[in-house]
């Protein structure tokens, strides 16, 4: 390594990277989740969410696969895109993932938000155990509802 180290700024010491093989699998789970929801493939949701997963959004919380399906059915659900995922290793079997999403509505309007996930390693692969969804309110121009670095590092 040739570079001169710069002064460390937080949160480096608390941000442990995820090994590449796990990172790629987790990226696939997040992308597949968007696909399954877009396709309304509710009976396959267990491929991405843990049985007892908890989903928290500004308009309510859902628990368990059945609860998540029920909530998802009530949403409009334009196809969403997941971008900008950063991963933090909590331990060998748990990873924090912070991503952004955006969706393009039928009228061309673009809306975006964030999601903070806890992924757990199961015998069947990585699964989302917790998801927090944040959605800034365009009417109020309120970015305060957004997730922050502190949430990612918590």
């Amino acid at each position: 390594m040739s570079a001169v180290p710069e002064a460390a700024a937080a949160p480096s010491p608390r941000w442990e990277r995820v090994p590449v093989a796990d990172a790629l699998e987790i990226g696939t789970v997040l992308a597949r989740c968007a696909r399954l929801v877009d396709a309304r493939a509710w009976d396959e949701l267990g491929r991405v969410f843990a049985e007892d997963a908890v989903l928290a959004a500004p308009d309510g919380t859902a628990a368990g696969l059945a609860g998540i399906v029920e909530r998802a059915r009530a949403d409009t659900l334009e196809p969403h895109h997941v971008t900008d995922t950063v991963l933090r290793r909590l331990d060998g079997d748990r990873v924090r993932a912070w991503s952004k999403w955006f969706l393009v509505r039928g009228d061309g309007a673009v809306l975006g938000g964030e999601q903070l996930d806890l992924l757990v390693r199961t015998p069947d692969g990585w699964r989302i155990a917790e998801r927090r969804i944040a959605r800034p309110d365009p009417e109020r121009r309120d970015a305060g509802a957004a997730l922050g670095v502190a949430d990612f590092l918590a």
């Binding site: 390594m1 710069e6 460390a8 949160p11 995922t85 950063v86 952004k100 309007a109 809306l111 938000g113």
Partner: protein
């Protein structure tokens, strides 16, 4: 076709590891999160202290320069910056150039796009952005130049090639 400074895929793949590639894209993603959160105090997590920013409004230096640029373009119009579709070109074991699409969402539910070309350097704390070239694409100014239509963008290709060449030159020294 003129394609300067393009090592073969196999040769490039050996210069940095898959883990390096994941970390480079994570730094890009984290930089987007920091921008959205206006987390100026943490710019050291993604930029080197002397980072060079090359933009349509001129050149800016250091994290303070990055902030000055963002204030000039009035980032407050945009609640979200997305960085996606990244190509990582390894120059040597400690240098890589990443070419990404960026998408800015505005409060009025529209989006503008462009490209980031980032030159990464491996530091004692991990990969950091040493130079960023910003190329707005199909923005109002370029659409006007194209007489209101879609403006094709040859500049990002040139920016990417230039960044790879410059990083290669620097790595040789």
């Amino acid at each position: 076709m003129d394609t300067p400074a393009q090592p073969s895929e196999a040769a490039a793949a050996e210069k940095i590891t898959a883990q390096d590639r994941i970390e480079i894209t994570e730094i890009l993603s984290f930089s987007s999160h920091l921008l959205d959160n206006r987390q100026w105090d943490m710019f050291g997590e993604v930029f080197v202290p002397e980072v060079e920013l090359v933009t349509q409004l001129g050149e800016f230096t250091g994290p303070a320069g990055v902030r000055a640029y963002l204030e000039r373009i009035d980032l407050s119009r945009y609640p979200a910056t997305h960085t996606l579709n990244t190509i990582v070109e390894a120059v040597d074991a400690d240098t890589a150039v990443a070419w990404s699409r960026m998408l800015l969402l505005s409060w009025d539910r529209r989006a503008v796009g462009g490209d980031f070309v980032d030159t990464f350097r491996r530091t004692g704390h991990g990969w950091r952005i040493a130079r960023r070239a910003v190329a707005p694409r199909n923005d109002r100014a370029s659409a006007e130049l194209a007489e209101g239509g879609f403006a094709p963008d040859p500049y990002a290709y040139a920016l990417f090639d230039d960044a790879v060449l410059a990083a290669t030159e620097q790595a040789r020294r």
